[in-house]
Amino acid sequence: MKIGVYVCECGSNIASTVDVEDLVEQAKEFPYVEVSRVYKYVCSDPGQVLIKQDIEEKQLDRIVVAACSPRMHEPTFRAVLEDMGLNPYVLEIVNIREQVSWVHDDKSKGTAKAASLLKGAVLRASLMHPLERKKVGVTHNALVIGGGIAGIQASLDLADMGFDTTLVEKSATIGGKMSQLDKTFPTLDCSQCILSPKMVDVNRHPNIDLLALSEVVEVDGYVGNFKVKIKKNPSYVLADKCTLCDDCVPVCPVIEHDEYNQGFSPRRAIYIPYPQAVPASYLIDPNSCLGIDPLICSKCKDVCGPEAIDFDMKPEIIEKEVGAIIVATGYEPYPIENIGEYGYGTIPDVISGLDFERIVSASGPTDGTIRRPSDGKIPKTVVFVHCAGSRDPSKHLPYCSKVCCMYATKHALQYKHLVHDGTAINFFIDIRTAGKDYEEFYQRAAEEDQVIYIRGKVSEVFQDGDKILVKGADTLTGETVELHADLVVLATGLMPSAGTKEIASLLNLSVGMNGFIREAHPKLKPVDTAISGVFVAGTATGPKDIPDAVSSASGAASRAAGILAQDELEIEGTVAQVDEDLCRGCGLCAEACPYSAIEINAINKYGHALRVAFVNEALCKGCGSCAAACLNGAINQLGYTDSQILALIGALGEE
């Protein structure tokens, strides 16, 4: 083994507080050192040439550079090694600038520290081995899970880029919560009018395979090479035959609550979620149908002209291979049954924000006239309660749900536009209107439309005759407020959907304290997850409004495309490696690994079936946590092996 040592003066940056000549002389005495030199700027072209010449003339096979932080020039020097046919990993950089010369002005102490670090580096270099950057192929298809606005946008972006994309939606139609909204803040444009063209695009796009009523049940593999199993539940209606004539509906004897209208109107067991639903087809709800059995009832089947109804449809398992996955499984409103003090469920005229969206909608149960649920009267006083179940760490959601101030303001405005002589009163803790044109929207509601804003929290809500008594405190005046309302609308917060939780556990994604999926980095990698090749869009990572959900979806699509556009992916060489002979198959390493990169497999060795750890190099990110967990020293991190680190410790301990 022949090691070359290069000490950099960095102009005077290093040389003025570290005795570089002394370092070079000391290094000559270290094991395996063939050549030791000082140079003014080792990173410069002539500096690099110096190393290259030595590699060639002196047949060096390990290089140690004492210079600035490896965070600066490690790639530069790795390239030098590669140019000369050496493996890029047989390089060690000693940080004698940022961590020595710039922080210690005592030259003798600084030089002593630098010498100790340099010795450690030489010893470590003598234990280095060439590492391989393995390559894996990439399947150029994508999977998007969840068909709300975020999943729709991500699918369309990927499909437009030319990638075959499978969109898996759990319910009967895509569209998500946005399809239930009437108008959207701050522009008050109609939600369906801007959403449904996109839904139609999804359905028509040649690169999108839309699987509704479907769930991902198994995911295997790793970045570039996921194998996915999807369970497609039967709709009992053949979408390509159904002509949407509606003949089946009147004959169905079953009456159910209509989920789309939040239970305020009825539907039959055979139904279409709403007229713009995509896939555009009726379906039978197996939970309310009398039996999915022609012997019990076949009224719908009998009247269906195009013979679209098929009682024999069975669940199907569909397998797909994809290179990247986008999770867009969305949110759920906080269950206001949990907020007992607000009387939801016991007082019929206490409703949720999403309920109000339907009641105010022209396509809703009241055809766009605001009527209260109990007696159908048009309410003259409506109280909107902000932060219902949000920002209440002791009992409910601890966080701010971000959209409720805005939608409660929107609701008050919509109400005032429809009931001109009505009174709209909003109780708020703070008004949060951070968003383009949001503050102006709020100002307009308060000033032009005379929405009354009271700062304070509602403490209790009672039924009082045909009115609702709302008690609260006005925290600006310090007085208690009691008023009678005809309708109370609770602006409930957003929490992770059940589907988000399911997918997080299926894919091993880590979730934060509140159950939302955790980003790889909250600021710089907001659409990546800790698992390579899995991205996240929309409200699955936390409350968002529509513009934010859409931009995160486009972000996730472009991050996914960054993988899908490659033919091969290179894997870092510093992955974990198992010594099968030492491993006892205990699984401590697998438990420590943040990426589920380790599996315990049975192998046949020495005539026995042995359980040993197996590292999936494509999943491993080279953190080394496994190597610190193993009690047998059976698993190591290449490039940071125990022997290398122990050699460093030995040198640094010496003084």
């Binding site: 490896p70 961590q99 005592d106 980095h521 943040p594 990426y595 953190c623 610190a628 410790i649 640094l652």
Partner: protein, 149 residues
């Protein structure tokens, strides 16, 4: 080891090994450098990818090989580049401290901190504190391995 024998004559200068994760703490130490913040030269850094890489055996080994103190520093809770390696490190360091106590070694010789890539000043402060603390404890002699050369 000569400096240590003269503790009565000159002030004892502890020798401390610092295991720093590459994403946060090592970058924080670099920032102390680019900001030219001066601090004592007693901590020598070993860069690991994640504080979760620090095998408890390294801590014992450091003492055996001549260190008077050990610093382990990672990303702040919740910020670990590898999601939770820093929690593993915290748990292991805590366990190791108990073991050290059992061996009769002051557990204060091992210190775990969180230093982010933006906390150059904090890193310098940490080094100053650890150096002072170990100075007070004096040289580590308990499990030191005798060296032939």
């Amino acid at each position: 080891m000569s400096t240590k024998k003269n503790t009565e004559l000159e002030e004892f200068e502890p020798n401390i090994i610092g295991f720093l994760c590459s994403w946060c703490s090592y970058a924080g130490a670099d920032l102390a450098g680019t900001s030219r913040i001066q601090y004592p030269p007693n901590v020598k850094i070993i860069k690991v990818m994640c504080s979760g890489r620090v095998n408890p055996m390294y801590i014992i080994n450091a003492f055996q090989q001549g260190a008077d103190g050990v610093l382990v520093s990672g990303c702040h809770p919740g910020d670990c580049h590898y999601t939770h390696g820093n929690y593993l490190a915290r748990r292991r360091v805590a366990t190791m401290k108990k073991l050290l106590e059992f061996l009769g070694i002051e557990p204060e010789r091992v210190r775990m901190t969180w230093v982010s890539a933006a906390e150059g000043r904090k890193y310098a402060d940490v080094v100053r504190e650890v150096t002072e603390d170990i100075k007070k404890l004096g040289p580590m002699t308990k499990i030191r391995r005798e060296k032939e050369w």
